[in-house]
C-alpha cells in the first residue's frame, strides 16, 4: 500500500477522528435507548406506577394480578367473515385458553375491593393465527390516552391528598368512568359480566375493505346485582369459587359481538362510547368449559397481549394497544423471571 503524503500528519488528529465517529454512534445509541430522556414514558415507568407501596407481587401480573384460568372453545358462526378474513371467523370450533381476572395489582385482593373485572382470551384456529384479547367489564376506559393512564396511576399512588383532584381537573374524561364505577350494579359472578375490548381495531375483509371495530362478549347468564357489602360477606375469593362451581355444573357462554364504527366516531379514544345504533355483528359464541387455578393453569404463562392478532385484524389509530403491548411485555418478562416466588402448585397460589 503506497503511503500518501498526508500520512505524515500527526496521528493524534486521526485518532481523534476515530474517537469522534465511535463516540457519535454510541451517543445516538444511548439516546435511542432513552437514557438521555428522563421524561420519556417507558414501559418500565408505566409498569412501575402500577405497583402498590410495598412493591409488586413477585411472579404475578403487574396489573389484573388476581385471576383464574379457563379453557373452552370459540364457535364461529361465519358472520364475522363479512368484516374480516381472519380464520377465527370461518365457521368452526376453535380452542380457547382464557383468564378471568380482577383489575388490581394485588393477587390476594378481596373481590369486593375491586371494581373492574376482566377477561383475557386466546383463540387458536388451525392455521395458528392466534387472536388474543384482554377485555374489561367497564363500558369505557378511565382515560383517553396512555399518558393519561400513567398520570392516573401516579395520582392514585400519590401521598398528596390533592393529587386525584388535580388529576381530574386535567382529565375531566375520568368523571364519565367514575359515574359508571359508582353507579353501575355489581354482580356476584364472572359469568354474568359483559366484557368489552374498549380499544378499537381494524378489520380487513376478503376484498381488502377496512373497518374500524370494537367488540364485546355478552353473557348468556342473566346478571343478578349485588351490593359490594353483600359480596364482601361471601368471602374474599368468592368469584373464583363461584365460577369454578358454576362451570363444573355446566358450560358458560358469551356471544361475541363486533361493532363497526361510523365515519367520525371516536376510534382513537376508548373513553368515548360509540352511539348505540352502530352496526353490530354477532360472530360466534365463547363457551367456557373448564376452570383451573392460575398457579399451574394453562393461562399462567400466556401474555394476553392485545396486539397478537391474526391476518385480517390489525391495530387502528387507537394508541392503547401499542402501549398495552409494550407494558404487558415488560410485566411478562418480570413475572416469568420471578416464577420461583409464585409456586406452581394450587396451594402456593394464595400465600
Amino acid at each position: 500500500m503506497p503511503q500518501s503524503p498526508s500520512s505524515r500528519h500527526l496521528p493524534l488528529a486521526r485518532l481523534a477522528i476515530i474517537a469522534v465517529v465511535v463516540g457519535l454512534v454510541a451517543v445516538a445509541f444511548v439516546y435511542t435507548a432513552g437514557w438521555l430522556s428522563p421524561h420519556r414514558l417507558t414501559p418500565a415507568k408505566l409498569v412501575a406506577t402500577l405497583a402498590p407501596p410495598g412493591g409488586p407481587a413477585l411472579g404475578h401480573r403487574r396489573n389484573h394480578a388476581k385471576g383464574i384460568c379457563f379453557t373452552g372453545t370459540f364457535d364461529a358462526n361465519g358472520n364475522g367473515s363479512a368484516l374480516s378474513r381472519a380464520q377465527v371467523f370461518v365457521p368452526g370450533q376453535y380452542p380457547v385458553v382464557g383468564r378471568f381476572n380482577l383489575a388490581t395489582a394485588d393477587p390476594n385482593a378481596a373481590d369486593a375491593m375491586v371494581r373492574v373485572r376482566g377477561l383475557g382470551i386466546r383463540i387458536t384456529p388451525p392455521n395458528g393465527q392466534e387472536w388474543r384479547s384482554a377485555m374489561i367489564d367497564a363500558p369505557i376506559f378511565p382515560v383517553s390516552t396512555p399518558q393519561g393512564f400513567y398520570e392516573l396511576q401516579t395520582a392514585a399512588g400519590s401521598k398528596d391528598p390533592e393529587a386525584m383532584k388535580k388529576f381530574i381537573a386535567s382529565h375531566p374524561e375520568f368523571l364519565t368512568f367514575l359515574g359508571w364505577a359508582k353507579g353501575a350494579p355489581w354482580t356476584s359472578s364472572y359469568a354474568e359480566e359483559r366484557y368489552n375490548s374498549l380499544n378499537s381495531f381494524l378489520f380487513i375483509d376478503g376484498s381488502g375493505t377496512k373497518r374500524i371495530t370494537r367488540w364485546s362478549l355478552i353473557p348468556a347468564a342473566q346478571p343478578v346485582s349485588i351490593t359490594p357489602n353483600e359480596l364482601a360477606k361471601r368471602g374474599p375469593d368468592f368469584l373464583e369459587q363461584e365460577i369454578t362451581q358454576r362451570v363444573a355444573a355446566g358450560p358458560q357462554r358469551w356471544s361475541l359481538v363486533v361493532t363497526v364504527a361510523n365515519p367520525g366516531d371516536p376510534t382513537a379514544d376508548p373513553n368515548k362510547a360509540w352511539p348505540a345504533d352502530r352496526r353490530s355483528v354477532e360472530v360466534g359464541t365463547l363457551t367456557v368449559r373448564q376452570i383451573e387455578p392460575e398457579a399451574d393453569g394453562p393461562c399462567r404463562d400466556i401474555n394476553y397481549d392485545p396486539t397478537v392478532l391474526p391476518a385480517g385484524i390489525t391495530t387502528s389509530d387507537d394508541p392503547f394497544p401499542a402501549a398495552r403491548s409494550a407494558a404487558y411485555s415488560r410485566s411478562y418478562n418480570s413475572r416469568t423471571a420471578e416464577a420461583s416466588s409464585y409456586p406452581r402448585t394450587p396451594t402456593g397460589a394464595k400465600q
Binding site: 500500500m1 503511503q3 500518501s4 500520512s7 496521528p11 486521526r14 485518532l15 477522528i17 476515530i18 465517529v21 465511535v22 454512534v25 454510541a26 445516538a28 445509541f29 435511542t32 435507548a33 432513552g34 420519556r40 414514558l41 417507558t42 414501559p43 408505566l46 395458528g128 393465527q129 392466534e130 396512555p146 404463562d301 400466556i302 401474555n303 397481549d305 396486539t307 397478537v308 391474526p310 391476518a311 391495530t315 394508541p319 394497544p321 401499542a322 402501549a323 403491548s325 409494550a326 407494558a327 415488560r330 411478562y332 418478562n333 416469568t336 423471571a337 416464577a339
Partner: protein, 184 residues
C-alpha cells in the same frame, strides 16, 4: 483460512455492507422499542422480528461464502495482539450474528408468542413454553445486544485505525468501492 486475494470477493463485500446496515438498524430498533409505549413500539417490533430472521439467513450464507472463499491475509507486519484481536472479533461477530436471531426466536417460542414475519407468515415454535427458558434467553438476548454493539464499535474503531493511522490496506479488503480487484 486465507487466500491470495487482496480483497474479499464482491458477494462477500456486498453481504458485509448490507448486513452492517441491517445489524446496526436492528440494535437501534431493539433498544428503541423497549423504551417506548407509543405506536412506534409496534412498528419497531414488527420490523425487529423479520429483520432478525433476515440477518440469520444472510449470516448463514455469509459463513458459507467465508468458508468457501476464505479471507485476504492480514498485513505481515501487523503486531501479534492486533492479529489475535482481528481473528477473535471475526469469530465473535459470526457467533453473535447467528446466535442473536436464534435466541430471539427461541425466546418468543418459550413465551408462547407467535413469531410473525411480513405478510402474516408464521414461523414454527422452536422451544417448549417455559418461564425459566424465556427468562434465560431474554437475559441473554438483552446482554448480548449490548455486547454486540460494543464489539461493533471496536470493529469500527479498529478499521478506522487501519484506514487512517496504519494505512495498511485492511480497510480496502472490504471497501464498498466498485473498483476491480487486480489480483482476481
Amino acid at each position: 483460512m486465507t487466500t491470495s486475494r487482496t480483497r474479499f470477493t464482491a458477494p462477500q463485500r456486498l453481504l458485509h455492507w448490507l448486513m452492517a446496515i441491517c445489524i446496526l438498524s436492528m440494535l437501534f430498533i431493539g433498544v428503541g422499542m423497549v423504551s417506548t409505549i407509543t405506536p412506534r413500539y409496534l412498528t419497531l417490533v414488527q420490523i425487529h422480528k423479520p429483520l432478525g430472521i433476515a440477518i440469520l439467513v444472510l449470516a448463514l450464507i455469509r459463513l458459507a461464502l467465508r468458508i468457501y472463499y476464505g479471507a485476504p491475509s492480514l498485513p505481515a507486519d501487523l503486531p501479534e495482539p492486533m492479529k489475535l484481536a482481528a481473528y477473535l472479533s471475526q469469530y465473535i461477530l459470526y457467533a453473535l450474528m447467528i446466535s442473536m436471531p436464534l435466541i430471539g426466536w427461541g425466546m418468543l417460542s418459550a413465551a408462547s408468542y407467535p413469531v410473525v414475519l411480513f405478510g402474516g407468515v408464521h414461523l414454527p415454535s422452536i422451544l417448549p413454553v417455559s418461564a425459566s427458558l424465556h427468562t434465560l434467553l431474554w437475559h441473554a438476548h438483552y446482554c448480548m445486544a449490548f455486547a454486540f454493539f460494543a464489539v461493533i464499535l471496536l470493529h469500527v474503531a479498529a478499521i478506522l485505525f487501519h484506514k487512517l493511522v496504519r494505512r495498511d490496506g485492511v480497510f480496502e479488503t472490504m471497501a464498498p468501492a466498485l473498483t476491480r480487484d487486480h489480483s482476481e
